[in-house]
Structure formats: C-alpha cells, structure tokens
Amino acid sequence: MSMITPPPETPPAELAPAEADGGGLLTAVEAAELGLAPAAKPRSMLRRGWEVFAENKLALASIGVLVFIVAFCFVGPLFYHTDQVHTNLSETLCTPSTSHLLGCNELGYDELGRLMVGGQTSLEVGVAAALVSVIVGTLYGAISGFIGGTFDAFLMRVVDAGLAIPYIMVVIILSVVFHPTTFIMIFIIAAFYWLGVARLVRGETLTLRTREYVQAVKVIGGGRGRAVVRHVVPNAIGTIIVQATFAIADSILLLAGLGFLALGVQPPATDWGSMLSNGLNYLEGGGYWWLIYPPGIAIILTCIAFNFIGDALRDAFETRLQRR
C-alpha cells in the first residue's frame, strides 16, 4: 500500500564517459547505436521518447499484459455469459469444471465471470481516481507555482497539511461517512491523492516559469491563464503522465485494501480486492484456491504492470536519456 513510488533508475556508472558526446547519460544500447550513427537526423520528441521506452522490454511486456487484462474484463463477458446479480445457492463453492471454468464462490457466483466484472470495477475506479487526482493536482500545482509569492506559500501549506494526515486513515473516515457507491469511491480515493501530484507539478512549474518562452507569453500580451495552460502544463506533461500511471496502481491497491476492511464497493457490486478478501475467508478450509489466487494474481499483475510502465515512461520523458 505504499504511497511512495519506486525511486528512478539511474544508468550504470561505467557508461558515464559517454556523456561527452551525447550530452547526457546513455544506456548501453544507445551508446552502441550512437557510435554507428552519430549524426542521425533529428527526430520528434515523441519518437525519441518511444525509442527509450521500447528498449525497456519489461515495459513492453507490461503493455501486453494490460491489453490482455482490459480485454479480459471488458470483452470477456461478451463471450462468457454469467449471472453476477442473482445468487445460486445450489452451486455454492462448486469446484472448477467445464460449466464453471474457475468454480464458484460461496454464493454460487461463477468465479471467472466475477473476475471480469470485479476487474471492470477495479480498473474503472483506478483509472478514474487517477484522472481526477492528476487533473486537480496539475491545475492546483501549476497555478500555485506560477503565481508564486505568498499565494503559493499559502496553497502549499494547505497541501502540506493534507499530506501530513495519514492517507489511509482519512480515506477510511471518508468511507465511513459516505457509505460509498462505486462512483463516490473514485472521489474518496482522489480527495487526498491529488495533493502529492500538486506538489510535484508545482515544483516543475517553479523551474518552467523562469524559462524564456514562458516569459515571452507575458511580453506578447498573453494572460497568466494562457501561460499556464498552453505552456507550463504541456511542458510538465512527462511528470504528470508518470504520476498518473503510479496513481492507477495505488488506487487499485487502495480499493482492494478498503474491500478487505469491508469499506469498499458494496455488494452485489465487487472488485478484485473484495473478491480476494472474501476468498481469504476460505484460506484455512484449504482447497478453495480458485477463490484466492485468481483475484490476488490479477491485482498483482495489474499493479506491477502499471509500475513498470511508469518507470519506463519516466526514462522516456527524461530528456537526458534521449539522443539530442
């Protein structure tokens, strides 16, 4: 449930001499390529970013895994029809068979079908909460950093205060207060998550606003709003997207944790976390592996995939890793 994302990877020390001709630290493959074609024609930023990203095989595999998981959750139910609303007590805890490929849970819901439906909730809440956090956090951070002065100091102390309150505790309190539906859950998760994004974007803005092209907006008569939206935010987009990726993984994990405390989405709706914690009731009975490992592995795979992609994106946006 860590709120702190893995620290950035650093290129190996022995390649440091390559700095001289590349203007930045290069990975082994890049250095080799550079030796062969030192005067490659200039490429677009997206293209160069993609090349760095694509070198990370784990990240490519992660994209494959995510595509599969999304297809499984959203396309799967079109081919594998199950009833996830009405209980069927005659099939309580049935073992996996041809009619129920992953067996049933204690209420007779088909486990494979439930994995798809629960996955939809987990992914939707995760992505939506991440989007809300990132949009609110970006605007707040960019405006605060851009205007600066006392205004910035004030806004940032508010952020500090929000971040000082242990995240999980405040989310639990909000869940107790609101008895959340799946939709409200998104905002409960985002309610305090955006603060971290705001702080990062504000830091980025502080360096961006002194750049000449941002200063130039003022000179040619552009307003502050234009400078923030058209120049500061697009240039901080790397940080923002990386944060969004980690936010999705964090939100899915948090939703799972709340499901374990029975504070998450309410039945008959479910998510992977609620399924997992439900299945764990049967851990000691032994033998009910299909209630435990499929949702557990689904959560772990999804979160690892988002973490790997986030890492690779960070490298891709890191201009010093890119060929000039």
């Binding site: 102390r157 639990i172 029975a262 851990l283 772990i300």
Partner: protein, 315 residues
C-alpha cells in the same frame, strides 16, 4: 542554520493549523452532524438537539473551533461514547503496542533493505539484482492483507511454526512476553517496508557511485571496499534518514492492515473497530495524533538532513 530551523518550525505550526481546520471540516462532514453519527439514525430530533447543545455543536463554528483547540492543548482528545472512555486513555493503552510493531518491523526491514539494496547497486543488472528487484516489486504491488494472510496460511495453518494470531494482552510486557506470536506480524510488516528501503538504497547508491568524490577516492588509490563503505555508504544513508521521517504516514497505514489481519491489540486495530462502530471521536482523535506524529517526523527529517548535509542549510 538557526534561521533555517525557525523558518521550518514556523511552517510546521502553520501546517498544524491547517490540519486542525481540515479535521474540523471532517467532523462536520458526517451526515446530520457529529451527534447524529454518534447516536445513530433512530435518535429523535430532541435527543440530537439536546446533545448538540451539550457538546456545543449549536455554537458558531469559530467558537467550536476555539473551544476544541483549547481542549486539545490540554491533552483532551475527546470522549468516545462507544468505548465509554476518553480517546486519550484508549490511545495511551494502544499506542505503545503499535510502536513496538512499527519499531520492530522497521528495524527488520532496514536490516534486510539496506544491505540488499547496496548489493543490488553494486551488482546491478545481474541475475541477483533482477531477482531482488522482482521481489521488491511484489512488495509494491501486493495488497498488504494478502501477504499477511499468506504468511498465516504457510507458517501457522499448514506448518504450525508460529501462532496465527498476534500476542494478546493489555500491557506492553504481555505483548513482548510472546515473541513467537510477534514473528509473523513483524515479518509481514517488514516485507512491506523492505521494498521501499531496498529500492531507495539501490537507486541512492547508484547515484552516488557516479559522483566526482568517488572518482577522486579511486584515483587516490582507495580500495573498492573503502570507496563503498567509507564514502558511498555514508552518503547514501543520509537520504534513508530523511526517508524514514517522511514515510511515517506509510508506516501508520501499513500497521492498520497488519493489525487487523493478526488481531494485534494496537492503535490500527482500534482505528478499524472505530470505523466499524462509526465511533467518530476515536477516528478523529487517532487521526489527529498520527498527523501530529507525521508533522514532527517531517520536521526531524529536515533538521536531520540539515545537520548531515551542510548544503541544505545555506540554500
């Protein structure tokens, strides 16, 4: 240095003020107000009005705030009707036991995380590094309660090596007198943090290994061992010290899930029970204390950083 400390202290006080405001807002978020939350949906309007007057919730918000702060300054965190005792007494009973869990778990995780993180940095991009990276990513991506319950399944239910429940008892002595029962909660908690420290240490050591001072040390003929332990290790530890102070919220969060899984008689489990019982006084009181601890932790981290790294002081 003094100026830096004063500025930092002033910031901390300002942050504390905002925290109390946010907490007061949380109190008033409860549908129908805090008294309704306390008495339940079946309470009559007259009863709610009576208690509102009793607790002063009918007064203007700034009066409520003032009185509440006054009470807080006197160590009065509120009264839990559900537990029929003050939040402060519940806290003094529970907090020491959570500190044991958090303390032991943190020590265990550092004992593994720091050396293995250094190993990973020195032997980067080898099989050992990839395996350990995989393990720490598992730590990031696995729900805490899942890890904890799998440990229970493997080491308590299947093999009876350790008891499945945490030590029970009212006092710290009672908890410490059952070391075997402490093993699984501490291990589960330690694994959670291990991922954090080892990733951070790996990256920090790798950053330091390319610094100029390392080249200088090597050029002077220092052995690899001396470079690593005499120079790089010490500088990498600085960032871990800071991280320790900054991760207090993470430490608290982890403790809640571990305590619920193992039925550990600490603050996290009490917090969970308070959530189940809609015991808002306990929820808010505990949150406030955890927040105060975080602010102090951040402050100490900054001070520690300034002491260890002279560059911070003058910037």
């Amino acid at each position: 240095m003094i100026g830096y400390l004063i500025r930092r202290l002033f910031q901390a006080i300002l942050v504390t003020f905002f925290v109390t405001v946010i907490t007061l807002l949380l109190v008033h978020l409860f549908p129908g107000g805090p008294v309704r939350a306390m008495l339940g949906p079946r309470a009559s309007a007259a009863q709610v009005a009576y208690f509102n007057k009793q607790y002063g919730f009918n007064r203007p918000i700034y009066v409520q705030y003032g009185k509440w702060i006054w009470q807080l300054l006197h160590g009065n965190l509120g009264y839990s009707i559900k537990l029929n005792q003050t939040v402060a007494s519940e806290l003094t009973n529970r907090l020491p036991k959570t500190i044991i869990l958090v303390g032991l778990g943190t020590v265990v995780s550092l004992l593994f995380g720091i050396p293995l993180g250094i190993y990973q940095a020195v032997r980067r991009y080898t099989v050992g590094d990839y395996v350990l990276t995989g393990i720490s990513f598992l730590g990031y991506a696995t729900p805490t309660f899942f890890i904890a319950l799998l440990l229970v399944e493997w080491f308590a239910v299947d093999s009876h090596v350790f008891p499945p429940f945490a030590p029970q008892g009212d006092t710290v002595g009672a908890v410490l007198s059952q070391p075997r029962a402490l093993v699984l909660p501490v291990l589960a908690y330690g694994f959670l943090l291990y991922a954090l420290w080892s990733r951070y240490m790996r990256s920090s050591v790798m950053d330091n290994l390319v610094q100029d001072y390392v080249r200088t040390a090597r050029a002077k003929g220092a052995s690899e061992r001396r470079v690593l332990w005499g120079h790089v290790f010490r500088n990498s530890l600085i960032s871990i010290v800071t991280l320790l102070g900054l991760s207090l919220p993470t430490l608290v969060a982890g403790a809640i899930f571990i305590e619920v899984v193992f039925n550990y008689p600490g603050m996290g489990y009490a917090f969970y029970q308070a959530a189940e019982n809609v015991d808002y006084a306990t929820l808010l009181g505990f949150t406030l204390v955890a927040t105060a601890a975080t602010i102090i932790g951040n402050l100490l981290a900054d001070v520690g950083y300034a002491v260890l790294d002279p560059r911070v002081r003058y910037s």
